[in-house]
Amino acid sequence: MKILKFINIISQFKDGLSKSRKDLANKLESLFHYSTNKLEFLERLEELLILSDVGILATSEIMNQFNQINFKEYKENNFIFFKEKLKDILIEILNSNTSKINIKRDKLNIVMIVGVNGSGKTSIAGKIAYSLKKEKNNILLVPADTFRAAGIQQLKILADQSGVEMINAIEGADPASVVYDGINAAQARKKNVVIIDTAGRLHTKINLMNELEKVKRVIQNKAKEFSLEILQVIDATMGQNAIFQAKSFNESLGVTGIVLTKMDGTAKGGIVIAIKKELNIPVKLISLGEKLNNLYNFEANKFVEALLD
């Protein structure tokens, strides 16, 4: 999937990130240029990481790596070296071989979107449909969010905007049966991609998590020769609870990737660093605005670069 034109990658990231970048960049300037001693530097570094939602555990591990450096080897007041070092550490944590949406030409590709309430699942379903359609895929949207009032209508509007077909469903219907019908329809209409929007649910609600597991079972029983992506949507403004969210969804379903949304605000989205570090779930897509085309492939080095440069 080539959502991004390679050349534009950094500038697009930077546009979306400009406000958050200014904020962070100023801090980094003073962090790397004006720290006068190791103690002050480390304290500022910790503040920076915590304020970016990287979390206490990942932060202290990064701090440990800095602690081991013999600062005397470097000229006093020159902390520029450490900026590169920080970049390297962050990229190493975020890098992954599997950070692309996996669309196979010879199979039915099923993309299931899950996440807590208000993370942006329906918008993401629309955006993924839009971008995969541009790559000449034959797509069917499935509104399995039958719980939220007008959730189906919302997806329908996005489907129309992206020129993608959506099967209909009735509010209150069993999501598993909607998905069953969806896969049936996709097979009959010779679609190669099915995108399933699910209802938002807190990861602590066991019944609702069971409901998702049932949806997954229906997919596995119904579709033959298929490739399944289970994408969890995580809001960049989320704090440390997102680790528990990712953990629960992963245990229930086996999450294959994370979509990071709302990166056009001032939140740093550092939580994905903590999630990657603790659960090794790769970030696959990043969303930087409300328009259908504001969705990009996630690339660790560019993400970190755009944040730190």
Partner: protein, 440 residues
Amino acid sequence: MFDSLTNKFQIIFRNIKNKGKLNENDIKNCLHEIRIALLEADVNYKVVKEFISELYNQAQKEKISESLTPTQQIIKIVNEEITKILGLKQNDIIINSNPPTIMLLAGLQGTGKTTTAVKLAHYCRKKGHKPLLIATDIQRPAAIEQLQTLGEKSNLPVFSIGKNENAVNIIKAAVKYSNKKDIDILIIDTAGRLHIDDKLMIELQEIERNIPLQEKLLIVDAMAGQDAINSAKIFCDKIKLSGIILTKLDGDSRGGVALSLKKVLGVPIKFVGLGEKIDNFQAFHPERMASRILGMGDVLTLIEKVESAYNEKEIKKLDKKIKNHNFDLNDFYFQLKKMKNIGSVNQIMDLIPGFNNIKNNIKFNRLSNEGNELKRIEAIISSMTIEERENPYIINGSRRKRIARGSGTQINEINRLLKQFHQLKEVLKKGPIIKNMSFH
């Protein structure tokens, strides 16, 4: 909620308890652990810094190191300081003596504004008001339909005039409409917006300039991270907020954002959202929240919930039945339904001191199915004759078979239900249990 913070403190204090007296180093270790716990709870970095230094000063002043009961001392200090940050007294909404009262709900995308608008309207209606919901979210696809559907379901009126008018005009039209309709509270649902989206922030300021607003409430997700302070600050700068509603507290987020917001903005937290149902909504109680953080449970909330589930008459009637040994299956079912209204077992356990510890150690799959369980019990009891319900002792084997067939359940489920009922009756014979439980 706040689970882990609570557990953390309990572990810290257990370690201290074993030691008895504390030295300077112990206090420092303790503060260090508290710091980590607060940061893990997403309390803002700067707020934590200040909190810890205040705590240290307090600890010095009160000479903890010389105290013979250091645990109690530290609990007391931490409790006091957290309560101080959360705000000392409870804040209700401001109702205009000269109607209508107009309330504005604003916030980032996905925080739960529309759901909260409906809950708030329901809350006002329960207090005897006549609320009207106003749909001004012309940004998000199907947002107006969402509010309309929710309004319809809960029988609350929703005002909308489509997507082509600006927010100020929609609200003005709604005010005009409400004058004719005997409506005294207007609740404005707005589009979710980023605090750095100038165009949409100006829209909020336009509303503030043109409409007399009694309440300007910011909706904040309890799972929010460090940036919540930045966005809330800008909302507060642009339109002077009168309060905050914290949503999605029914998850396991530690909700540290509550501590930060109050401290930095000085704006009170007025309500909390605790679930997807319309009445999963309550006033925010700072002192209870603080004791909850410290693992002291929230017994006051529990009592209030029990009280609101039963009315005086029902309690008297039930009391009489129990005294006269007339307690039957109808009452049994009624009781179960009441319990359901009070909350799920999980929710109740959160509120009882010490129970949140136990909760983490037990698998609650069965208990979280209690909604289903209740439905089955309902089916079983409805399949009985009136005579059987009033005198369950007559239910013999063939009657059990018939009831199982009628309710689509198994005979062993009926056996279990009857056994539970008889056990309860035995207990009740020995005297009222409620009075034996000390809540104070």
